[in-house]
């Protein structure tokens, strides 16, 4: 209740209202563009947030995430091409409804379910974040070091097919984090005499390069045409009877989405497909799934929108970004000198209250802008890619330059883009690199401070109960992931042996 009361005054703050509406509008547009993920949509905005007031800047980025989750369903339903990965499950029944001439209703179900999922997600975010961060005052340097290790342990689940590749990607981020002034002695490291590198490399340059610039390079290398939207549907919300039928899949979607959002590394795509499967399992009309079932849209759309809010729980409480989008949001916090984690609720409670209010405005704004923006989304999706990508490149170059008025920064971003492009080709994941980059300083500085304070006694990390607990959880996280991978590899080997044998 206190959390709600603290957030109420921010609902009348013009900067919060404007940031939320701009963010959700930008998010819907970005999400609707196939190939432009929520994280890229957010990364494009990052440079603009430098000049903004911190709360409005965070609201802008978080609202973009919410808008993008709905925006992704627009091309999924209209051209069978999901605008975001999380909207892939919506294609199954959304496009079928479109073929049956019910595109407006499909979009209405998506928007309505997104609203429900977001509201439930926001309620859980407000309920869970503060208690989880309540242990803040007990945190010591060893505990902060252990928190960083716990954050890095998420890499075990984010590494895709190869854990080794995920670890290499994380080390790349950790290496970049060592550039600049040493956190304990103040001596220069890897600056090669350049004054531009003395302050280190800011995560925003690397994030924009890895996510947005490398995507442009990847799209330039493909040059394939995308489908155009021919129809001009109008959004139609479900009637009372249909809304009643959608309650069960929406509750399933909200439950699964909230759980997956709180778990670092799970994400909206897994939540969408899981809730789609569960909705089919529990439906009274399972045969309709895949043939244009409204429930097949309601469940995944509720789930991926619930994820957009609950994914902020580990970020706000522990400073651990569990997805690309929350990593970009973490970048937004860092730009303004705010370190998400246990102390954020103590030192910057106003930012948190403003964020909650901004998210509420963004969710309501999503419905309003979702209705208003549909024709613009259709127009944008139909624009020729060469012009759109040329403009995005110009926007990225201008945005990065505007941060410090430095062409050196632009060079760093371009280099990160090139590295990201080759990481895509060699199939290295990005998120571990971002995690290494943003957690590198936290891990190193607190590790060394702990040793200085304890007189080089390494047991300081096991004597502190919070540190011990976090390190144990990290170890369990890594062990669980390795066991899961080993079991999956063993099953694959068995299948491979059988198929080779049968072919032979």
């Amino acid at each position: 209740m206190d959390t709600i009361l603290a957030s109420l005054p921010y609902l009348l703050e013009p900067s919060i209202l404007i940031a939320a509406m701009i963010g959700v509008t930008w998010g819907i547009l970005g999400g609707a563009m196939p190939g432009i993920s929520p994280s890229i949509t957010m990364a494009l905005l990052l440079p603009f947030t430098y000049t903004m007031e911190p709360t409005a800047a965070i609201v802008l980025l978080a609202s973009t995430y919410i808008g993008a989750e709905y925006g992704g369903s627009v091309p999924a339903i209209l051209i069978r091409t999901p605008g975001t990965n999380a909207a892939a499950a919506t294609v199954l029944d959304g496009y079928e409804m479109n073929k049956q001439g019910k595109a407006g209703l499909a979009l209405g179900i998506s928007l309505y379910s997104g609203f429900i999922g977001s509201m439930i997600g926001l309620a859980l975010l407000m309920l869970l974040s503060k208690p989880l961060a309540g242990v803040a005052l007990a945190f010591t340097p060893p505990a902060y070091f252990a928190l960083g290790i716990l954050g890095l342990s998420v890499i075990a689940t984010l590494s895709g097919d190869s854990l080794v590749k995920g670890l290499i990607a994380a080390l790349l981020g950790l290496m970049v984090a060592t550039v600049g002034t040493d956190p304990v002695t103040g001596s220069n490291r890897f600056t090669f005499g350049s004054s531009d590198l003395l302050g280190g490399i800011e995560p925003v340059m690397i994030m924009v390069g890895l996510f947005a610039m490398s995507e442009l390079l990847a799209q330039a290398s493909k040059r394939d045409d995308i489908n155009k939207i021919r129809s001009r549907p109008k959004i139609e919300f479900p009637g009372r009877h249909l809304a009643k039928r959608l309650i069960r899949p929406q509750l399933l979607g909200a439950g699964i989405g909230s759980f997956e959002g709180v778990m670092p590394g799970a994400g909206g795509t897994i939540a969408s497909f899981m809730s789609y499967n569960e909705a089919r399992r529990w439906s009274s009309k399972p045969d309709e799934f895949g043939k244009g079932s409204p429930e097949g849209i309601a469940a995944p759309e509720t789930a991926n929108n619930a994820v957009a809010e609950t994914a902020l729980v580990p970020l706000l409480s522990f400073g651990i970004p569990g997805s690309n989008s929350t990593a970009i949001l973490l970048g937004g916090f860092l730009i303004h000198g705010l370190q998400p984690g246990p102390m954020l609720f103590q030192r910057s409670a106003d930012v948190i209250s403003g964020l909650y209010a901004g998210l509420f405005v963004a969710i309501v704004g999503m419905v309003v802008m979702g209705l208003a923006m549909l024709p613009i989304c259709i127009w944008m999706v139909n624009r020729p890619r060469p012009y759109l990508n040329a403009f995005i490149l110009a926007l990225i170059l201008s945005g990065i330059y505007s941060i410090h008025g430095s062409l050196f920064d632009v060079g760093i971003m371009l280099t990160a883009g090139l590295v990201g492009f080759f990481m895509r080709i060699l199939r290295f994941p990005f998120l571990p690199t971002v995690l290494g980059l943003v957690l590198g300083y936290l891990v190193e500085s607190n590790f060394r401070r702990s040793l200085v304070l304890s007189g080089d006694d390494y047991t300081v990390f096991t004597n502190d109960w919070i540190s011990l607990g976090l390190l144990t959880v990290a170890a369990l996280f890594i062990a669980g992931s390795i066991i899961k991978r080993a079991a999956a590899a063993w099953r694959r080997d068995e299948r491979a042996a059988f198929s080779e044998g049968s072919e032979g």
């Binding site: 290496m175 505007s402 062409l407 371009l414 080759f422 040793l451």
Partner: protein, 164 residues
Amino acid sequence: MITRDAVGGLAAIGLGACYLYFASQMRASSLADSFGPQGMPLVYGWLMLGLGVVLVLQWLVATSRSSSETRQAAHADAWRGQGRKILRAGGLFGLAAAYLPIVQTLGYLPSMALLTFAVALYLGAPLTWRPVAIGIGGAIVLWLIFVQLLGVPMPRGILSAFGL
């Protein structure tokens, strides 16, 4: 059969070795703690090197277990069209990199118009009035946003006399 894993592993070994070399060149200050400013970099460097070796070893084991036909098919499949893709991406990267020296000479507005026009053409837009209009229009929109609205002092060049 050189796979993506092999290339990734070799790149990690190269990067780890270079990073280790520079980390080992750091001088420890008399004020340094026992771990020192070079402590973490040395750990990261060795880990990168080690993981690169693991990736290469994984590739060698996988190669030795597969038949030569499978290897050839996998090789062809893994790298088909990649050279062309890299060249195309390299072209866009070159245009973006060329913007850096050009913007210092021409200034923000003309170089942004030039960049947008050139990139649109490079990405496949036909040479008509549209890429020209979008180049000029896009540059003006960005100039209005960044210079006029946000007050960012963008690089000034040949048009500085006109206040642009």
